[in-house]
Symmetry: C2
Subunit: 576 residues, 2 copies
């Protein structure tokens, strides 16, 4: 510390200010405060912190900042997914704070999801100072570049110094990097020295200037727009994958679809299926895609569709014009069928591009097919024996306007894709489709509920069990869980593994547990629902209060046969 | 796949064998089988796998291998800590298998712990093949070097090819790298192509030769031994930090201590405190260290001591000869007081080094002090109001010979260090002191129980809650949990944060939950114990069956005052 103190003194000789030598913990606290204040002024509003000693200056600075809301969460994995949910719901960066060592490694699952799903997170890891590295000190590991290529940037701060005037501007750039050119996590490693706890409440800090960072939108190249416009001739489709389009982009996509007579294959997570109902948006894109209507061109936005049928449909028309538009470098095209990859803001692209309307018969054929699928879905979901599809279809059509809904991986979100159709009113649908893991789903949903108020999470039993620690947070949040308990990994019933003799043991992996007792353990309401109607009614009845688990037992064989019958029945109707 | 198939055909043209074209999934399965068989022949016996689709060939190959025991665990974080426990208990590598994407990021906390604690793990991550990368394919991320500097090696396998004759030798080297020169995790990324599920049971695979890998032990340089021997003159101490010494090293350390009249400050995790009782081994090294007896030389083995007093004691004698011996490059010396860092096998070093015995008064003084501390500890733990120290002291002295005991972070293991003294019989004590996290402690203990049979885990309520998912595994394992419920992070009562107005909210973080209901949720026995004796009796009564939680509520203020009284009373006795 001696050498560092000398450097600090040099700074003060030059700046004319003097360090407060009465409280040695002030150096770290003032440092953390300048950093957190810089983040707050760059737009940060929420911090999720886990308890720890080394992170004390960061946590205290956050707790005492008037513009920051701090949530304490013991399990750092849960904390990081909670922050992910907050950031998704509010579309702005959220900061994480944790102590040094394995604590921050628990962020990794949410970090890779945030990277893939492009969600801004500020990862503030407390660290031991350099003199405690590589010498066996407790809770000390090499934290530099811990998240490798999965963060937009990594910054190794020096140990706290008296000169803090640059930290506000640094924080502004960190926030900017978490948002542009591709939103995602940024990792700032913050070494801190003992003593870590300031005595009393230090005086109000000096505030240093930081630039406001303004980001533009990627307008499409006019020459490219011209070329592409010439290609949008004949029977076209618009495919919107799992990536929530904002209000302006939604309106622009719908406007373009109307102008060109192009039906929209919109994923449940695209933000289009559960907004204003529009005839151009198919209610059952998966069912229509299974018929493989032969398009001349496809305009594609967002990620790879949740269900394979739409991808297969696009792959079946290899050679046709397929234009993928993305405002960042991540183009979703796993089957390599794209003929054009265009970097542009989707809303601006849709507003500028032209083309020639298809004959009305094209859209009519697909809409007829869509209507037939809707009828088949309604029939499949009519009786009261519960299965995932019926529960999701009925729930999504019954929820109040603007309800946030989190759909867990894996079978839950696919069932929503297959059966839910279009809601009669606008809903805010969320899911974790960056990497489509079953980890952290409940924590993410709790973050969404914290940001947006009364929300619903629909989860299968494995996703629910994978994120059990989230239950410790649930009483304080307005979240109602619909637990689809099909006793194991129901998604695998739909895959080839189902034929293996080891299927039950190694893929279904049924877990023996009592959800009622779990609810009791954390002071949550528990409702067992036997029928589809009862389950939906229970979710609606508990919505306002939250903190409830509505548990529905599902027979896997029944569910599988309903899905197969539905797919078969959709195949009967012709698209032309 | 076309290009790859052509290469495969080339191989077969050369080798004379032909691929089985009737089942395209055979390529991946045979590949995985050759790899797993190679690991098994290099000594692997246990695999912990999490369910997933892309990992199917690896999981199937493990399940069907006659020499491999496979445990399925849904939560990959819990799976990795379980594997860590197995590897620690059996002192041999354990393999992990999980599917691509965020699943493997859940291994990160256990990986960094295994790196720091030097525990061999084989991380077998399934991956999508190269053509599905960087194009928006589902559950696909860059998995290369995911664990950065925290693994001993990272290997990127190519997608499965028909030529598999080299995989056994490859596997032998991977296992070797996980053991020498420094045990730790090795990451092998395994891209696999669809179809993933072989039809039927393929015929027994051809077995390819692989070298046996034999590792030596690091003998000390004789010149250095000579020089060091000359320094071991006068009053000396031997300090054994938290790193389990094997039987030979234990005997060698005890032999050296006797020869030189040097008392041993042995950590609870050194393997020395709970083995054969030997007068040279202090029962209360922490209490003796607080008296700062002025030594002439210290010989140090293992990691940094769990409790700060021993470190402070060493720091107080900066300038005295302090020799740190380690058989790898990780020397524990956070206060930089070592005068010599010697790379050698501790057992060989102790056997070779000489020195001159101290006058008997030296050891007698310290042993007198130790005895006084033992009396004070006994007095502090005499009445029935439970606190961590008394529970640990009485439990460790009552457990049957050879019982495996896992001591969780943070206050639990420190309380054991302060109060437990020496057990009257040999116990196998485990903890996670690589990074000293409160994550994954219960899962690690379950791995230990799986390997060694009826075991006990002692955890505080935060460590317990941090690893709640482990409860799903507990019914199947012979583990009895002693839950020390002090309502939050009791360790912070001992730190400066206790003076902050935000203390309760951001550091103690008390969690409201009902352990009885948690036990019921997972079909575990639950016993609430009101007194120290009742708690210890309940653990002993449930030991054979396992799957039980013995819950003791602890008053934090009472616990803190007992600790303070104990420390004060130890200070009264003089060491000379």
């Amino acid at each position: 510390m001696g050498r560092n103190r000398t450097e600090a003194d040099d700074v003060f000789r030059h700046s004319g200010r003097r360090p407060d030598v009465s409280d040695p913990a002030r150096l770290g606290y003032d440092w953390a405060r300048a950093l957190l204040d810089g983040f707050a002024r760059a737009g940060l509003r929420r911090v999720v912190a886990s308890p720890g000693s080394r992170s004390t200056p960061l946590t205290l600075a956050a707790l005492r900042h008037p513009d920051l809301d701090v949530q304490m969460i013991v399990d750092e994995r849960s904390a990081a997914f909670f922050a992910l949910g907050l950031a998704k719901a509010e579309n702005r960066p959220v900061a994480l704070i944790a102590t040094s060592g394995s604590a921050i490694a628990n962020w990794a699952p949410a970090v890779v999801e945030a990277d893939s799903a492009r969600v801004p997170l500020l990862l503030l890891s407390a660290d031991r100072p350099p003199e405690l590295h590589d010498c066996g000190a407790n809770q000390t590991m090499d934290q530099s570049a811990l998240f490798g290529v999965h963060v937009r940037a990594f910054h190794a701060l020096p140990p706290p110094e008296a000169r803090i005037d640059w930290l506000a501007a640094f924080a502004a750039r960190v926030v900017a990097a978490s948002r542009f050119p591709m939103p995602g996590p940024v990792h700032v490693n913050v070494p801190l020295r003992e003593p870590l706890t300031p005595a009393g409440a230090p005086p109000a800090p000096e505030v240093f200037a930081a630039p406001l960072v303004a980001t533009g939108r990627l307008a499409p190249d006019p020459v490219v727009v011209e070329q592409v416009s010439d290609l949008l001739v004949g029977d076209g489709v618009i495919v919107c994958g799992p990536e929530n389009l904002g209000g302006e982009a939604r309106a622009a996509v719908i406007g373009l679809a109307r102008r060109l007579g192009a039906p929209v294959f919109a994923d449940v997570l695209s933000g289009l299926r559960f907004c204003a109902s529009d005839a151009a948006i198919l209610a059952h894109p998966d069912a229509v895609a299974r018929k493989n209507p032969p398009f001349d061109w496809a305009l594609r936005f967002g990620g790879t569709p949740v269900c394979r049928a739409t991808s297969d449909f696009l792959r079946g028309r290899r050679g046709a014009t397929q234009i993928v538009v993305s405002d960042c470098a991540r183009f979703a095209d796993p089957d390599r069928t794209a003929t054009h990859l265009i970097q542009a803001d989707p809303a601006l692209f849709c507003a500028h591009v032209r083309g020639r309307p298809a004959p009305p018969a094209w859209a009519q054929g697909l809409l007829k097919c869509d209507k037939a699928a809707a009828g088949a879905a309604e029939a499949a979901c009519a009786d009261e024996t519960p299965f995932e599809g019926a529960l999701l279809r009925r729930l999504l059509s019954a929820l109040p306007e603007q309800t946030p809904v989190f759909l867990a991986n894996s079978l839950t979100i696919r069932s929503a894709e297959w059966f839910s159709g279009r809601a009669s009113c606008a809903l805010k649908i969320f899911g974790n489709r960056g990497l489509s893991g079953i980890d952290g789903n409940l924590s993410t949903a709790l973050g969404v509920a914290r940001a947006l108020g009364p929300a619903v999470a629909v989860l299968g039993d494995l996703a629910f069990l994978h994120d059990l620690n989230a239950l410790a947070l649930m009483r304080a949040q307005e979240l109602t869980v619909l637990l689809l308990d099909n006793r194991g990994g129901g998604i695998f019933d739909h895959l080839a593994q189902a034929a293996l003799p080891e299927f039950e043991r190694a893929w279904i992996t049924p877990q023996a547990y009592d959800p009622a007792a779990l609810a009791k353990a954390f002071g949550l309401r528990y409702i067992a629902a036997e029928t589809t109607s009862a389950a939906v009614a229970a979710v609606l009845a508990n919505l306002a209060g939250g903190g409830a688990i509505v548990h529905v037992a599902i027979d896997r064989a029944f569910s599988l046969s309903r899905c197969k019958d539905f797919f078969a029945s959709c195949q009967k109707e012709s698209c032309s």
